[in-house]
Amino acid sequence: MSEIVNTDYLQCLLKSWSVKSAESQSWLNQLRAQAIDRVSTQKLPTRRDEEWRFTDISPLARLPYQSSQPQYDLQLHDIEHLFLDEAKNRLVFIDGHYSPQLSTITDDKALVIGNLPEFLSAEGSILQSHLGQYAQFDDNVFTALNTAFLRDGALIHVPKNILIAEPIHLLFIATQNEVTSYPRCLLIGETGSQVTIIEDYVALQQAAYITNSVTEISLAASAHASHIRIQRESTQAFHLANCAVSLAHASNYQSVSISLGSQISRYNLDVRLTDEAAECVIDGLTLISDRQLADTHTCIDHLKPNGTSHQQHKCIVDDAAHAVFNGKIIVRPHAQRTNSSQSSRNLLLSRAAQIDTKPQLEIFADDVKCAHGATVGQLDPEEIFYLESRGLSEMAARNLLTYAFGAEIISRIPVTSLKRQLEQTVLNQTQSK
């Protein structure tokens, strides 16, 4: 792929960029301007970049889709089937644009929740100290692009010691063909707060489009957040996502991310344990088929002592699909008594399916407990025999074990209706007849 095409792609995207209205905050304009500067000095990554060696995104260069325009004719009944019973607060974004008509906010007394631009004055200084502070765009062209085009986005700010029992649903719906959307989320959990958010990417129809999303999460001391991320885009779409998480003292971050859709998807999750005794549990499931490519890159960075991180990532790959997992764990010199585990388990359902998994441990402290393991393979014959000895046919045994392989991750989603939906999805995709 020539670099001319490559450069053209970014130039082409930037044509539609402009400093928006004059009334917006100058710090935000500055941030966007910095981002645009970075974009203009970067190129689309190629497989020569270490971080992209398994994932060829060159097809993207042929799709310089412009920013989506707001679309207003969608009605509640068009999207109701995507709602989750448990979620009393729901922010809906259509092709990246916030839709107040389709959103439901019930908890705005207890917490700050809504579309980012609405809070630029009321929450200005808070936003300024968080937005763009975790998801660095210096060497990430997609985060730079997202920040340059930053406009609408989900803002959730949970005040000190406030516990929000019901999950908050952030629903990003793709409706248009050949557009790029730039979803953005910011979650700020103050000291001792607790919240569950569901970041949900769906398409109303099969369409070719690009989602370039950035999520930032900041948890103050002893704050808890459960972050569920479902990527069920159209299988013709490109999904490029970055999530950056910053954990303060004794805070706790639990993440379950499920990748089902997209022709090519890439999810970067960076978690920094910036103070003592922070904890994170990071689980992931990739379930793909046909010629899909799904790449998950995670980095868990232990900066201070007594931190805990547990990660399990699973891939089920059928047909000629290709899954990538790169899990980096850094334990810095001061991060003594870190307890970290990582497991990457992968199931190939066809001969043409491909998996690249790369655990990457960088440990600079001496008093740590780190366990990691990776397996790639087919189902275990001993497990199949066990089920056959209970009367199940070989096919039924294989189906059950394949389902279970995926369902183990799904079972960690603390939202029952979503869990049931996804169990059904796993069931449908893993059963051969």
């Binding site: 275990d380 497990e383 025999f385 000895s389 009367g391 995926g406 079972s411």
Partner: protein, 264 residues
């Protein structure tokens, strides 16, 4: 119990089997009739667990000789699932864990699969729930057992109880318990043994595969067979197990010539 009028459930003649070209079973003869409890004892590597797996149809083993009749059928012709449906049950030494599948889901699937094959009525989740809870009392199992993933995070005793629960649900004609006593403390052993005793009746039969005599204090066998190097080298009554316990397996080597004449 031994009964002259009972029917033969299992008839093994000259069974030989190998794994990866190495012969493990070198000619086994065994007859099991309804109502009987047999114990197969032997040191590690004697072939007793292999014998259990070959009967259940494990594909890693190749049968190289002999015959096995089960309820008048040629057992060796049947794939493992059909052996199970025909009424053969193997309680595993190391039951596998299936994270992601609730125990109740798995138990119902196994139960209904076997019921359907036997032309009997399948149960819906509610009906099954009542049914399985009744069976669980037999093994003093807590109700949360049903909602947990199959064997995941179960203690050794819980796994073995789960095996016997499956046996209770599937109502086999022949149960083979492979080292069911291993890894059990005395309380768990008593519960498991009590379950097995309650399930044993004049129409079914049980084979206990074990290294130690301990289990046989609680499940009293009608016959004790000693395996060595892939063959049954000695058969006797329940006293044989006690003899082994006090004298050790080495004793067999000096005495097998004289006692080998005693057969079932």
């Amino acid at each position: 119990m031994i009964d002259k009028n009972s029917t033969t459930i299992l008839s093994v003649q000259g069974l030989r089997a190998s794994i990866n070209g190495t012969e493990i079973l070198k000619g086994i003869d065994l007859t099991v009739k309804s109502g009987e409890i047999h114990a197969i004892m032997g040191l590690n590597g004697s072939g007793k667990s292999t014998f259990a797996k070959v009967l259940a149809g494990h594909s890693a083993y190749e049968v190289t000789g002999g015959s096995v009749q089960f309820e008048g059928k040629n057992l060796l012709e049947l794939p493992p699932e059909e052996r199970a449906r025909a009424g053969l049950f193997l309680a595993f030494q190391y039951p596998i864990e299936i994270p992601g599948v609730a125990n109740t889901q798995f138990l119902r699937l196994a139960y209904n699969t076997v019921q359907a094959q036997r032309g009997k009525e399948e149960l819906d989740p509610l009906e099954f729930d009542d049914f399985v809870r009744e069976k669980m009392k037999l093994l003093e199992m807590k109700p949360d057992f049903l909602e947990r993933s199959v064997n995941e995070g179960f203690s050794g005793g819980e796994k073995k109880r789960n095996e016997i629960l499956q046996m209770a649900l599937l109502e086999p004609r022949l149960s083979i318990l492979d080292e069911t006593d291993s890894g059990l403390d005395i309380d768990a052993l008593k519960i498991v043994a009590n379950g097995v005793n309650q399930l044993a009746n004049k129409n079914n039969a049980t084979i206990l595969v074990t290294h130690y005599q301990r289990l046989l204090n609680y499940i009293v066998p009608d016959f004790v067979h000693v395996m060595q190097a892939g063959r049954i080298v000695m058969t006797g009554g329940k006293e044989l197990a006690l003899e082994l316990e006090t004298r050790g397996y080495d004793w067999i080597n000096t005495n097998k010539q004289s006692v080998a004449g005693v057969t079932a």
